[in-house]
Amino acid sequence: MAVHPGIVAADQAPEKPLPESLTPAEFNRAVAELRRAIGDEWVFTDDEGDLRTYRDVYSTLPDEANMPSAAVAPRSVEEIQAILKIARSYQIPLWTVSTGKNYAYGGPAPRKPGFFVLDLNRMKRIIEVNEEHGYAVVEPGVSYFELYNYLQRRGSKLWIDPAAPGWGSVLGNLLEHGAGYTPYGDHLLMNCGMQVVLADGTVVETGMGALSGSATSSLYKYGCGPWVEGMFTQSNFGIVTKVGIWLMPEPPGYRPYLVTFPREEDLYQITEIVGPLRLNMLIPNAATTVGLIWEAAPNATRKQYYRGKGPMPMRHRRKMAQDLDIGMWNFYGALYGPEPIMDNNWKVLEEAFRSIPGAKFFFEGDRPNDPAWRYRVKLMKGVPNMTEFSLMNWVGSGAHIDFSPRSPVTGEDSMKQFTLIRDRANEYGFDYIGEFLVGWRELLNIFQLIFDRLDEDERRRAHECFGHLVNDFAEQGYGEYRTHLNFMDEIAGTYNWNDGALWKLHHRLKQALDPVGILSPGKSGIWPASKS
């Protein structure tokens, strides 16, 4: 038998954490069975080599807090079933990832040290693209780049809706309730049909897909009977191996715009204006109000404007805003459709935004050399890119975790959220780096807590700051929609109405669907009964 790095000595204490259910000898046997099931080269155990690529390099905690003991990368549903059989037999916790690029929320790393990662990145089939009806059916490993390239090669007139980093998984982002910037920006809303492998190996097609020979699996969402797709998002009740995703037909016209605003307090009025315009669809895409530093980052780094410690003082921020010709807030939107419709809608929008003193307007051609403008223009028409990662250059070896609360779309709520986060971030020595998106009826504030990952003190402060923010916002009745691995229990604990009835329901479902408790234990604060 070949000797593999990372196999542990059966007769002595292992050098790495293993799942609680496994002795070293059982670990070795399980790994050997997995190698036979899916091939030697797709089982990773070498802590000094390939397995290191599964760590969350953006975590606020040391790597060891989320290091797996092994990773397996199947290529098919059949291989997943074979892995599940072994996992059930040995009670191995399998932490599922798609492309593994969910950075800021954990990347490819598992919830607890010793878990096995079930890495679905090799499942890369684009199973169907339907140009006439506007949808695609994809597997977990298909990234936004890959789907976009595929459509472009074929001359498709369908748009995708990428998250800001284009390397993300179409399926994975949808399952995490992610968002994009075209009118199809609510990714879960655009899902139609799933294939799910349950813990016992059963394969389920949802919705109309449950009908043998169905022609409407990707056309009508609800099928007949209970609608279950949501249950498999941000959860650990099954492994989603295929999704249908609706794609937007290219509109006859596209007109992006940027409006900048000079004062921090302008956020109140911006939100008051944007709310009804978004609700009434005059702004048809995710309306995004971007804070100063977020907007500046593709063009500048912090030390170009401030070399001191702590948050960048206002006079330095004003200088940066002036140099880059941007605002304290920067609203991005786009018009879509025939020219007369865009012309008429713009009259309403322009009049509304002009009511804020100092508002400046920019259109196509006004900022040809500004990468911040250019990447927003791409995102709002579904062209994937990585420019937003420039934010990681803001400090030396930048890393981030994201704090993402939602509130009603009111000026008062936006200012309350902004000042709460800004003041808490500043207290811990961090800059406020955020943006506000109006999904439809709710305001999403994404705060990127950016820290130098090679600075132990910054990592510690970032971790503490984040924990405080969870409590601050829960006290105000705001909830986060998604969070990093290491804060999942804390966030779940804030959803506590009626003695935590909803999470009790989640746990009953978990027990029913995965009684051995092998699928992503701890995801969203949902644990198997044995670990509750």
Partner: protein
Amino acid sequence: MLLLAGCGNDDTTGTGEQADGHADTQVTYLDGKALFELYCIACHGAGPGHPGTMRLEERMSADQAPLLDRDNLPPDYVKLVVREGFKLMPPFRPSEIDDAQLDLLTDYITGDNH
């Protein structure tokens, strides 16, 4: 060149179009340029808007910041950075870029054929 792998059809065009009209891109990239364009260029291309290039401009001359313009990259160093990550760049797993692909990618980045 894109080669289909495991598609269960005889398509050799690389488009993945199957006879029943279903698309299938379960492809194996066996070309350094294709790999670079899928995995690297969005961060390491030339000009503004590329975070990796922006970062490298801080510590070297602007004409050496885009990866393909570098003339001092040892192949082993490229492989190390891909697997370990560097500064803001996270590691890439073998399930994304396997060892054979990493060889091709490295040859492309460090070679003159681009």
